[in-house]
Subunit: 275 residues, 2 copies
């Protein structure tokens, strides 16, 4: 049984304002909690049924994470899911300094020009399911870093965390002023000793078919907002305009677009598949 | 202003039991309502704000659809969306006979062997967002027919309809006993004069990379359940086992799978892009 203040604290983490105040978020379900415990994230506490605790005792002891036994009625209050899992973790949000050092490690060395460095940049992604799904896609395709604009939905909202299916523990997401960041990077790499600019890809209706383009193995791929696409202030930094062609009927009522995470998946597959 | 019985009737359509009883479903938002009005679906009524009606009067008159003016408070009750749109349509569910004739037209002729006939078969897709998104993907890639197992989530649930973004009006979805259907089709085409069997594709962990396989331009692609993959009773009908390779780190915690609609998108793109 938990105290009222514990319940109040954890329940509050469903709301962005309180996640920012307490610097914590929640992660639910055995796989996700295990991924969190095995990652660089710091798990502040595990809240689980007695059965779950007994079944997972070795792991919990090894990780030295505080564990609190709960009853189903409590899990229903704590959970952000319609069907609560028997386990939930409260996890600390990494400090901005940690992220900044990762950013510097990535962009202030020449590693961006490593053969396999591909970075996604999410511009104003508002749907938490899309955000989480894109993190999962990046993980699948070996993309270790995602930049996201400050207008994207909160990375630590329960829906983003759950939709990432644990990939949030393996992909570094850096929230930043995207135009400013692209400006800095474009300038730096254009003037670099590599003799070439930084390839920045984005999808546009007037772009070239992603299926026939030669794609570099490194660079930045900008994924635009669900309804408005890529923001005008980012357009000047795009060096390669891509388009995912549609097929079949050209009837006027045809699908006008693909969902943002679907487009991201097709583009990532195309970068990775080799021509 | 609507009558209480109108409000009760439309609100009930959020629930599967009542959709089946009344043979109707709801579609919300200007684009989707317009797509419905322009399609073979029969729109029983449009419920909209006075402003919306004035702005869209020419269309409404042309289509001869009964229109009912609503106030915002009513739309909040009728809508299945968290942010109600100013317009909602009540649409009739096509009768099984209509679908059966489409099915016969597709499979009882040799048209399945037309150069571009690719069919998706959804096996136990439970998430409405996935179902709707896959319909949208099919529309984008010119796939006009989807088979779905009887265990799939209801096609006419508001979340499926909305996630399809209007593509539900252009892609024919046929609910059937999938194993029985595949059995019938496999038998028919194996023994056909074409001298070749019906290619039936599905994704499996032990499959061959979809990026290096030669894919036919026709055939059936089975998309499995979100957590369990393709049902054992369908496996005997799969003639080509495919796999979407992952890239980069092979760390033990790596993403274990892709979302069903993401996998469907990558596979459809691969069929359509040409090698």
């Amino acid at each position: 049984m938990l105290s009222q203040s514990q319940i109040k604290h954890i329940t509050a983490l469903k709301v962005k304002k309180f996640r920012e105040e307490f610097n914590q978020f929640i992660a639910e379900g055995t796989k996700l909690v295990m991924d969190m415990a095995d990652s660089q994230f710091q798990v502040a506490g595990i809240y689980a049924s007695g059965e779950w605790i007994v079944a997972n005792l070795p792991l919990i002891r090894k990780k030295n994470i505080p564990v609190f036994e709960t009853v189903p009625r409590e899990m229903e209050r704590l959970s952000a899911l319609s069907t609560p899992s028997p386990v939930l973790a409260v996890v600390n949000i990494p400090s901005d300094n940690d992220l900044k050092s990762k950013f510097d490690a990535l962009f202030c060395t020449s590693s961006l020009y490593g053969a396999e460095t591909l970075v996604l940049a999410l511009d104003d992604i508002r749907d938490p399911g899309n955000f989480g799904t894109i993190i999962r896609i990046a993980d699948w395709f070996g993309i270790g870093t995602i930049l996201c604009s400050e207008s994207c939905v909160d990375l630590y909202s329960p829906k983003v965390v759950q939709a990432s299916m644990g990939s949030i523990t393996r992909v570094t997401v850096i929230r930043c002023k995207l135009a400013e960041t692209l400006n800095t990077l474009s300038g730096r790499f254009t003037l670099s000793a590599h003799g070439e600019g930084l390839p920045v890809y984005g999808t546009f209706l007037e772009g070239d078919s992603v299926f026939s383009q030669t794609l570099t193995e490194h660079g930045i791929v900008v994924i635009g907002n669900e309804s408005r696409g890529i923001s005008p202030d980012l357009v000047p930094f795009i060096t390669h305009k891509l388009f995912i062609p549609s097929f079949g009927s050209s009837a006027p009522g045809k699908a006008e677009s693909l969902n943002a995470s679907i487009a991201a998946a097709i583009i990532c597959a195309e970068f990775r598949r080799g021509k």
